[in-house]
Assembly symmetry: D3
Homo-oligomer: 142 residues x 6
Amino acid sequence: MFIAAMGVPVLAQTVDDRLKRGDAVIRDLNRGQPQPALERMRQEFPFLAEATEAYALGDVWSRPGLDSRTRQLAAVAAFAATGQLPFMKVHAGYALNIGVSEEELKEVIYMITVPAGISRAIAASQVLSELFAERRNARGPQ
Amino acid sequence: MFIAAMGVPVLAQTVDDRLKRGDAVIRDLNRGQPQPALERMRQEFPFLAEATEAYALGDVWSRPGLDSRTRQLAAVAAFAATGQLPFMKVHAGYALNIGVSEEELKEVIYMITVPAGISRAIAASQVLSELFAERRNARGPQ
Amino acid sequence: MFIAAMGVPVLAQTVDDRLKRGDAVIRDLNRGQPQPALERMRQEFPFLAEATEAYALGDVWSRPGLDSRTRQLAAVAAFAATGQLPFMKVHAGYALNIGVSEEELKEVIYMITVPAGISRAIAASQVLSELFAERRNARGPQ
Amino acid sequence: MFIAAMGVPVLAQTVDDRLKRGDAVIRDLNRGQPQPALERMRQEFPFLAEATEAYALGDVWSRPGLDSRTRQLAAVAAFAATGQLPFMKVHAGYALNIGVSEEELKEVIYMITVPAGISRAIAASQVLSELFAERRNARGPQ
Amino acid sequence: MFIAAMGVPVLAQTVDDRLKRGDAVIRDLNRGQPQPALERMRQEFPFLAEATEAYALGDVWSRPGLDSRTRQLAAVAAFAATGQLPFMKVHAGYALNIGVSEEELKEVIYMITVPAGISRAIAASQVLSELFAERRNARGPQ
Amino acid sequence: MFIAAMGVPVLAQTVDDRLKRGDAVIRDLNRGQPQPALERMRQEFPFLAEATEAYALGDVWSRPGLDSRTRQLAAVAAFAATGQLPFMKVHAGYALNIGVSEEELKEVIYMITVPAGISRAIAASQVLSELFAERRNARGPQ
């Protein structure tokens, strides 16, 4: 249970607790696997790995008050609108992992034409198509 | 019923149909009222008013396949991440109008720290606070 | 003839009309050929393909009131300034196709140093150089 | 005559020459007047004033190879697409001063919906409307 | 002493420790005063206030390995280049408080012309001029 | 000696002087070597090559009033925050060449999480890791 959701800072939480929570979140989002980019940062950029795991995953991504599906779709929108497509792909993959449909992801990309332009949406659609193809290939013929 | 959702372009639809649909959407989102910025554009920028009403509202915002609440929250994320705060405020207002809670909006802003920085989230939080205050003032003392 | 240019929305126009107009525009800009990225979107992102063809090409790109050369150069400026270089390359190619000179494209990139920085202009110049080389290679030795 | 246009750096040009050329350019664009923001920078940010006058105005804006109207419209597109609206307003004003029509400026803003979103175009249209009103007020009743 | 600087995450640190460190940092940067924008966030956006104080100030701003002057100047550069001018002003104020000179701040803004354009630098120079004037007014006549 | 630093424009300086100064600066920053991207621009984009060498390197990068290490770190921050990673890599390389440590570069990237998001910092960290590896490979086994 997340006391943070009650509107007060959680004063007693240790970085260790936050890292554990972040590790649990990434396994939930990533089908039980660690996140490769995060693992590669640990040796050379330990503080950034910690910020990603303890803050982004442990603090932000684990917050109650918004369901995980909506939070991932909003993240996909933000990454697509700012042209950060490798991150959009990672979070679109998380969204699929937790039950968001391909159609819902497409709808977010359609919407991006309004705040960020048709070109940003086209570029995002190409990366989503790659992701969908990778998932189909991984599942193999059916 | 939206044939567009079946994955084929809707060849017979007229601009007039799309404008009517856009007008219905804006009244749904804006508590039965026209949108003032849209009205001001009609005389001097008629094509842009048409694009906003027929395309953004009539085509994009009325699409099925994603619930309106999620689409507005994703739009809030995109506007906040790109620093387009007056538009973020308009869409956060629409979100409140269709039943999104203040807490859910705050969660989207918290998440924005990850793709766009703590500063972008702080700036967005200040605009959200203004919106929340305006709504409380409009409701009057209780 | 485009009634839209007279400052009133064109109420009777169908999506089918707009798609046909967009198809004519793309063939004008692209030397009679369909646009490959647009074709690839049709199956998986049909709404975005429609928005590109009916809205971007059919509505925006076919508007009177500004000659096509100036509109393409302004689009090249916008794509270069926002770092959307694959789109800049496509529109610079359209510009060449309709008679804009390499020198005029270079001048737009030089100007980009003022609103967007010398680095954005350098990055754009590298993509323009690729485009110019591809065109020379396609023409073969002379 | 601008030797730079022949594709070779102009080795003998002094900063003084470039500043004089920049001053001539600004007077051409600004109806014979100095540019107020530039004048204010001279005391506290002399290097930036010099860069603006000698480089932006003296080198870039005076280049041959592209007519001034097209260069200003491309600048308006770049400033609108990146959300730098006070600069867009200044350059739209220059464009009007050298004979660009209000309609042509509107067309550039309509086009901005494609690379930068409908919201960026709406925000730009509001600033253009202000500029057009200021010009009408300055001319007085007719 | 900051164990984080040795390249290992600090597992035992509590959020309370981090908030205290953030509070100490803000008082160092802000001449012993709390930061007004941070204080305003505490009630309505408690998680964002915590992220600002515990993460941005407590974790990032207190890191050894780079002197505070250089970190503030780099922050000024990042805020100016991305057009986040109210934040640039806050951090330029911190820089002055810890002994950075007005001339050094101006040099960072001059440099911004290269990655972000002359216009971004002009806009930043106007905000810096405001800050310098406020400081002179606060000191009174001498 | 740079009279510009005294707050007055340097009226007598020729473009030739500025290009020579730029050439000296690039050799200082780049271990005595010309900069390959700059050399490639000379033939096809001579004005942009001149702007880079005479303005960016000759005027901006050679300015006194800020030490070269701080200016390069601020440039790294600006390029990372705006997602211009190939330029960030070039300037991070210059920083290493003039004695900035890998740790100092990492600290700038950590700081970027605050104005530009954790994702922008992660993307920058990956490019820095490439640069560090290239430098280690160039030095060979020790």
